[in-house]
């Protein structure tokens, strides 16, 4: 059985209003454990919308998203949040770190919702910082980091709760060539860790990577 199954998914913005817009029009997709999927498409094709539905940030207008057999788009907020906290690690184009906190506090922020002991938390922190290659900046303030470092911090945060699914929305759009290549290295590590990764991008750097299991092209809210 697939880990993620998406069925005839629609997302209509501003439904019933004059500005009504169909961002997703009947998406079907299934992803197995450990698969890496790259969704490609021009800006405005609906990639971000799709990822935000998979992460239960918002709810679809119709259709289903089953993850581990559960329709996550019908979950009440408390369960949706718990799902997000435990199973999803999200890497954003604009990093979305909390200004004014240190790298460590940012990385640990998903863990404040757990009641784990200090030892376990520290162990998880070390692992995540290590995977994302940012342990040397542990106590720095976010404001003092470069773009690449910010992203690695965001990656560490996405990994800290050991989620099974990692979503990345335009992960290289704000990075230079060198840091973009570093991201590909991390992507390879994800593959080794057997995580599901879905990358939404229009960056050609992701083309024809040997460890990617599936490429899908998106246009006008549909796969082509």
């Amino acid at each position: 059985m697939s880990k993620i199954t998406i069925n005839n998914l629609y997302k209509i913005y501003n439904e019933g209003k004059e500005s009504e817009f169909q961002a997703l029009r009947g998406i079907d997709l299934s992803i197995k454990d450990g698969e890496i999927v790259v969704i490609k498409g021009v800006s405005g094709s609906g990639k971000s919308t799709l990822l935000s539905l998979i992460a239960a940030f918002s709810k679809p207008s119709s259709g289903k998203i089953l993850i581990d057999g559960e329709n996550i788009s019908k979950l009440p907020d408390i369960f949706a949040s718990k799902f997000r906290n435990e199973k999803i690690g999200f890497i954003f184009q604009s990093f979305n770190l909390i200004d004014g906190l240190s790298v460590k506090d940012n990385v640990l922020s998903p863990m404040v919702l757990t009641s784990l002991g200090q030892d376990t938390i520290n162990k998880r922190l070390k692992i995540a910082l290590n995977l994302a290659n940012i342990e040397h900046k542990e106590n720095q303030n976010i404001a003092d980091l470069s773009g690449g470092e910010k992203q690695r911090c965001a990656i560490a945060r996405a990994l800290v709760n050991n989620p099974s699914i990692i979503l990345a929305d335009e992960p290289t759009a704000n990075l230079d060539k060198e840091n973009s290549l570093k991201f590909l290295e991390i992507l390879k590590k994800f593959k080794e860790l057997k995580k599901i990764v879905i990358v939404a991008t229009h960056d050609t750097i992701f083309d024809e990577l040997p460890f990617v299991d599936k490429y899908v092209d998106m246009s006008d809210g549909k796969f082509v």
Partner: protein, 317 residues
């Protein structure tokens, strides 16, 4: 001179009013949710109702906390009124100063009970992935809201009608043995008290929620009489001082708060499983354990006054 100028009453009524206002906002939302809630719909309107659901929960949870604090404050404020009400020596005289006082007190306790039940159902509701009990909990809240409105009116009626010139009765007059129900003697009541207490422990042990429910209600009444007419006299160490309020004062180390709160909280855990079951059909047997533990604390506190008196003086009162 008006009691409304008493600073604790000004504060009390102000906060009661704030709570009433918050809950009125709440009730408007609740009615909307009751009318339009459809868990299976996937439109924005349904999602906005779901979000509002959290606002309502927040306000009610806040209300519960404040109501508990205000209840204690209310009882303390009655003491403030004692010097103003002629003839009153303790809160008995003040609360009995007109026909609204005792009803108001019962109302307050009842509202707290219902809010407690609401809280339990709310927890069950939030634990279910379909928000199964949402409508039921809001029907229950609607009842509570109506009661809160009546309570506020009762409060005004009570305070307006507190006599400042005509003397009121005090505890020595109100609580005389002839007032016991069914011609029982004080000693009968005490035997019944211990008998029911042991029965509750047994019923809780076998997790019979409906039997525990009935026994707890009986125990509430029997305890009221036992504490007022029997255990209280040992707290005061005076055979003729029978009063459920005097031991709330500093002279008795505020032990009254401990006695009454253990009784009420204990009883709450005894009767709520059955009420919750009859509303949402879930048996919450763990609460019966709390019932046993807290009522045991209550009984031990009461009994120890008798015991220590006997050890000290070698006789009973």
């Amino acid at each position: 001179m008006s009691v409304f100028l008493l600073d604790s009453l000004v504060v009390f009524l102000f906060i009661e009013f704030v709570i009433l206002l918050l809950n009125s906002i709440n009730q408007v939302i609740v009615l909307k949710i009751l009318k339009y809630w459809d868990f299976n719909a996937s439109n924005t309107f349904q999602y906005s109702l779901e979000k509002k659901n959290y606002l309502v929960n927040t306000i009610i949870t806040f209300t519960i906390g404040v109501k508990i604090i205000l209840f204690i404050f209310f009882v303390k404020s009655l003491d403030d009124l004692v010097p103003l009400v002629p003839g009153a020596m303790c809160a008995t005289g003040v609360i009995g100063a007109n026909e609204y006082g005792n009803i108001l007190l019962l109302f307050k306790i009842f509202i707290l009970f219902l809010l407690g039940v609401w809280m339990i159902i709310n927890r069950l509701d939030l634990k279910s992935k379909e928000l199964k009990f949402l409508k039921k909990k809001y029907y229950l809240f609607t009842i509570v809201f109506i009661m809160i409105c009546i309570e506020f009116i009762l409060e005004l009626a009570y305070f307006i009608n507190i006599p400042l010139t005509v003397p009121v009765f005090c505890c020595s007059v109100v609580f005389v043995v002839e007032n016991l129900p069914f011609d029982l003697t004080t000693l009968d009541i005490v035997y019944i008290f211990y008998f029911i207490f042991v029965s509750i422990l047994a019923s809780n042990y076998y997790k019979k929620i409906s039997i525990s429910f009935i026994l707890n209600i009986l125990f509430l009444f029997v305890s009221y009489y036992s504490v007022t007419y029997f255990f209280g006299t040992y707290v005061y160490e005076e055979p003729n001082h029978k009063c459920p309020f005097c031991f709330l004062q500093a002279d008795y180390y505020y032990v009254g708060y401990l006695i009454w709160s253990t009784l009420f909280v204990g009883i709450f855990f005894g009767i709520s499983p059955y009420i919750v079951y009859s509303i949402v059909e879930i048996k919450n047997k763990k609460l019966l354990q709390y019932n046993s533990i807290i009522l045991t604390v209550f009984t031990v506190i009461c009994s120890s006054y008798v015991l220590f008196y006997y050890i000290k003086n070698g006789v009973f009162l």
